[in-house]
Symmetry: C3
Subunit: 341 residues, 3 copies
Amino acid sequence: MLKNTQPLGQLAALLDAELHGNENLSITGLNTLQNAKSGELAFLANPNYQKYLASTQASAVILKPDMAKGFDGNKLILNNPYLGYAKLTALFLNTSPSQGLHPSSVIHPEATVASDASIGANSVIEAGCEIGAGAVIGAGCYVGENSIIGERTHLYANVTIYHEVTIGSDSILHSSSVIGADGFGFAPDAGRWVKIHQLGGVVIGDRVEVGAGTTIDRGALDDTVIGDGVILDNQVQIAHNVRIGENSAIAGCTAVAGSTTIGRNCTISGGCCIVGHLTLVDKVHVTAMTLVTKSIRQPGAYSSGTPMSESSVWRKNAVRFGQLNTMAGRLKVLEKITKTD
Amino acid sequence: MLKNTQPLGQLAALLDAELHGNENLSITGLNTLQNAKSGELAFLANPNYQKYLASTQASAVILKPDMAKGFDGNKLILNNPYLGYAKLTALFLNTSPSQGLHPSSVIHPEATVASDASIGANSVIEAGCEIGAGAVIGAGCYVGENSIIGERTHLYANVTIYHEVTIGSDSILHSSSVIGADGFGFAPDAGRWVKIHQLGGVVIGDRVEVGAGTTIDRGALDDTVIGDGVILDNQVQIAHNVRIGENSAIAGCTAVAGSTTIGRNCTISGGCCIVGHLTLVDKVHVTAMTLVTKSIRQPGAYSSGTPMSESSVWRKNAVRFGQLNTMAGRLKVLEKITKTD
Amino acid sequence: MLKNTQPLGQLAALLDAELHGNENLSITGLNTLQNAKSGELAFLANPNYQKYLASTQASAVILKPDMAKGFDGNKLILNNPYLGYAKLTALFLNTSPSQGLHPSSVIHPEATVASDASIGANSVIEAGCEIGAGAVIGAGCYVGENSIIGERTHLYANVTIYHEVTIGSDSILHSSSVIGADGFGFAPDAGRWVKIHQLGGVVIGDRVEVGAGTTIDRGALDDTVIGDGVILDNQVQIAHNVRIGENSAIAGCTAVAGSTTIGRNCTISGGCCIVGHLTLVDKVHVTAMTLVTKSIRQPGAYSSGTPMSESSVWRKNAVRFGQLNTMAGRLKVLEKITKTD
């Protein structure tokens, strides 16, 4: 297994960090304070982990100025050690995507593939596609007619892109994700469903991440739009004509129904459902498993649901939930009698 | 990008609509009133959008008789404009599935493939399969032993069909959907799980739509059965031995547990869980994120959950949920004291 | 369609069951009492089905000693008929995975593949992989660099394994599952997200089952770990650095967020969300659609949510949920007035 090593001085330069110690030290990887082995660079971001600083086996540590004094080892001093760690992770990747056009890939003669793009084994690129410079299409991927994959965008293995989908540059799509399948549009007709073929596309911006198994449907007439810098976790479902503003984040297993607009810098936790035709403004935060049934006009945090308890206790309270309206009426009667209302 | 154009008179004939205006007008596409460009046909179904009628750039509009009077442009008059729009969408599709048997596909010599069926690149058709007339198997699909794909049924890229699965005609399966994986059946044995190999199959009817990433498990002994005209959105999970009646619809991310029967013309919203071994009669409607834990014997609408609010407000109410049974007891005491019980 | 037949005596021997009747009887399949046809072996595990015993068409029945007296047909007597049925299912599978290395598969010269392993059509095995004895890699699968697939482990079609993933022996992974995609790790930086490349791997034990569409992310620095004998249903999401203890079971559409540890012999029902950085001890049972927001230190059953009712009734109670804290205050006032507090 190939592992990269990096001199500590070079890492300091990359982060613009103050280095105390041996700039020639070879760093073999990144780790937490408590798990780091000799040769590794650790970081101290959360004060709760300061207790591990004295005994860490790390060969160097990234830490904040105020925590640096008490540590005599090799160190990189930064105001935001967690961000520093994030920036260094790209240097220690232990995989290298295959290069060039694999002979088993099926590339339509009317597709345009940049000379330095990689097309994996058994992948299929249809007519009219444009695959940008440095883009990586993994094994078994499918890119439908007239779709555009931006520069340096990486599709891991077995991603499916339908026709007329545009993806910007520096984006990452994980395996089994599906972009551009039909939105769930049907007109009722005497007890049957008549399919509304979905004629819009999908437009995904730059620096977007799409998790494994996530699905983003094509629009009915207009496009579904995912803004620059949006990050979607695994098994997220984005319905037709949804619009998500820049740098918003959606955690795993959340579903956003059709024609809903989510603003910028929102964070939607896992397991939520946001129903259709709503608008959420910028900087809305929704906690896990919340059902959003109305538009949210003010930034802030929103929730629904009930707290967990032992099932035996929960069952008694849950029964009372079904009596809540009656209980409210009884309370009102008592208040009348006692003249407290 | 290829776009079809259609003369307005032909569209009127297809819908059996009353045409006022230029029957030779070339229609280049469909759109909403507010977004339509010259050459496009728009529709007015929802009265809320009537305000856009005067200023629409559409070259023609589908509308109801009572709304037709106030519009002087080219028009198609129909009682159900939304249904009319739905029926026309198939004419304006901007993709054409590849035709014939792709040389990179792997078709077992003991499979039967209709002469006009299409088998996409890098797809695999196993022994004993029957692929019907006009069926389209997308790139990278897998169809297991003895499975049957009906006439004109379309599997988009990267669909997986296990062995002994039967799919009717005119159905659509979207990418990453999986039909016929093992149901989740295990017998406990001294703290371990003994796998119950799943010996049943899956039977899917005609005109069924299966969304991207949706999974339908094979039965334990009998088959899992999806009725004609059923529509399943993305990331729906259908467990073993479930039976879904004709023309029922299930929205995204809903899970139906094992051996549950859902009637005809039901609509189950997104993010629901329906537990196992239940029966839902015909025409049951379940709202988003509802947990269905008992059979539903009467048609109607059903819900569970709590409404969303700001997290700070929600937290206070949620704490009280855990005290509900106690509160009910305290209310009872008060009623005794005040003799209102 | 190939079906195996087995002499009844051999099945009795395999189960160590007491046989009454014809040991040479050819058993053609397994079925329930009510659906069995001649030639089939049925089982009676649940007393509710005893009513079908007299009229069953099964040629033999597995039953408990106390139920055996009233049945004169061929029978296998066992203390746990359901477990007996489970153990026999493997004999009646009606599919045979293809054998050998398919010529269309792409196997890197630096991969190690056991001589009796099967590699399906159009699958891709990258450099440094080890595919164990008797392992079956289905069509269209992808196994990334340096990943290890244990002996007799079966990947169904279109499974994706990223790099540096280790899977034990006798495990089963269903289609569209994805093991080792990036965990959802990002550091905020002035309103943007900086990707934390995920440098850990995934370690999956022996006898693990992974359902269709299930995703298990690689760890940020350490590995994500799935213990021996764990069973995961379809569309389960396991985030980075989660650890699941031996023989735990998770039903469909449940999500477990990052760095949470689940003990041994837990059962998590469908549609749950377990938030990140929690610990659940052994033998915890969580009911369907529960949101787990805090660690669980005692074995037992846990729940959240509200019961389902007709939407019209539910709506009234749900409104009251939003007034619960006020109602509690009003109750307190009443208690003060009536001096019951």
